[in-house]
Subunit: 246 residues, 2 copies
């Protein structure tokens, strides 16, 4: 199987890095706090981070008391940044596609993945491998693009706006047609894999996971007062987060 | 708490009964087969049917070998039909809102609800009561209107159509705003309660249920060849079904 290595594309990498360097964006305001709220106590735990990117999460896990962190990512360019900016004796960075996570040695107490699963075509296969890499009672927490986002393709504008350009609703088509979607995000051929909610849930359940919590983050009143533009998340949450237990 | 008793409204009742008497509709083609596929073996089982309506499901459960079936419904008009057309010594029909299911005596091996939960405001309270009414290892199966449908209100047309009137995408707004929705379906003030996927899942998980399977029915190739208009379900599934175990 060929894995998409979009993060080693220079145009994409530069655009993405600028986005991640912003002080305020949807990741910082919604995805990171939601992911954090789903994590168990990490003290003394062995942790596997799937699609670790720049490694910011990995150093955070060490700060929270993790004994060992293994971060894997397909992108050499991202791992270069991770090894330079987020190195720690307790962290090991490996260049591996998520689909080959079974090549990592040992088993883990917590498996975490932040915003990588929508790049994974073989979700069922990856879920199975994660289960096998987990100790009994271990926790799996992941975030991905929300299905309302992954269903989007270049075929249809994502939003309908009023006469002032304000987003009033999303144009949602082909939600029930799973698989590859090509759109434009920094580059022309940005590929994600769309899955329905039921598929995301069923692959976990069928592989023995107990689903404990899901989050589709929306702003609370305080955030909304400060950033009214994020009302859009009530129409289309950007993220879906899941915690499941072995 | 006041429960909506829309089914005892004569205009609504007549419109709804005509719909249910059709030989082919989305219920028959998609909801009933999906619900059926989620049921465990009913031989010798005690079954509680929440929102039993005309009782067609209850007699089917007896045919499948159920030892005892209790069907509850808020609508006297529907129970009248049930007692006349779908009576059986093993079936007991009770006039009770779903919210008061704790008043039914005994505990059950299977709790089933077909297309009633979108009328329930206090989903969290009902899930808790269902869990308490279930024997260890018992199964809870329910269907409801899909969240893409319950999010709809009179504020926005549901579909965008092309120049020939063909539905091309849904106009989806306020998915993240949960609660009451008023629309027009046979009557002007048709009320349902909208919940996000995550809320539907979380209330089950937090109350101790293990989620085993979810279905968002879409047509297979054979059905699509016969009824091409049901391609619409790929844009907006009409139903969401869940099986969970105590």
């Amino acid at each position: 199987m060929a894995q998409q290595n979009i993060f080693d594309n220079e145009v994409f990498f530069d655009g993405y890095k600028k986005l991640r360097d912003q002080e305020v964006n949807a990741n910082i305001l919604f995805e990171i706090p939601a992911l954090s709220s789903l994590l168990p106590d990490l003290e003394g735990k062995e942790i596997l981070d799937l699609g670790c990117g720049f490694g910011e999460h990995c150093v955070d896990y060490v700060k929270r008391g993790a004994k060992r962190v293994v971060g894997i990512d397909l992108s050499e360019k991202m791992l270069e940044v991770a090894r330079k900016e987020n190195a720690d004796p307790k962290i090991e960075y490996l260049r591996l596609p998520i689909e080959e996570l079974d090549k990592v040695s040992g088993t883990f107490d917590v498996v975490i993945s932040s915003l990588a699963f929508h790049y994974v075509e073989d979700y069922a296969g990856v879920v199975k491998k994660i289960y096998e890499k987990m100790n009994a009672g271990a926790v799996f927490v992941f975030s991905q693009e929300h299905p309302f986002t992954t269903t989007y393709s270049n075929k249809l504008p994502r939003w309908t706006r009023d006469e002032n350009g304000k987003k009033i609703y999303i144009n949602l088509a082909d939600y029930g047609v799973e698989g590859e979607r090509t759109s434009t995000w920094f580059v022309d051929n940005f590929i994600v894999y769309h899955r329905m909610f039921s598929t995301i849930v069923n692959e976990l359940a069928q592989n023995g996971f107990v689903i404990e919590k899901m989050i589709e983050p929306t702003p609370d009143e305080e955030l909304l007062a400060k950033y009214p533009e994020y009302y859009d998340l009530f129409h289309k949450p950007d993220f879906l987060l899941v915690r499941a237990r072995k």
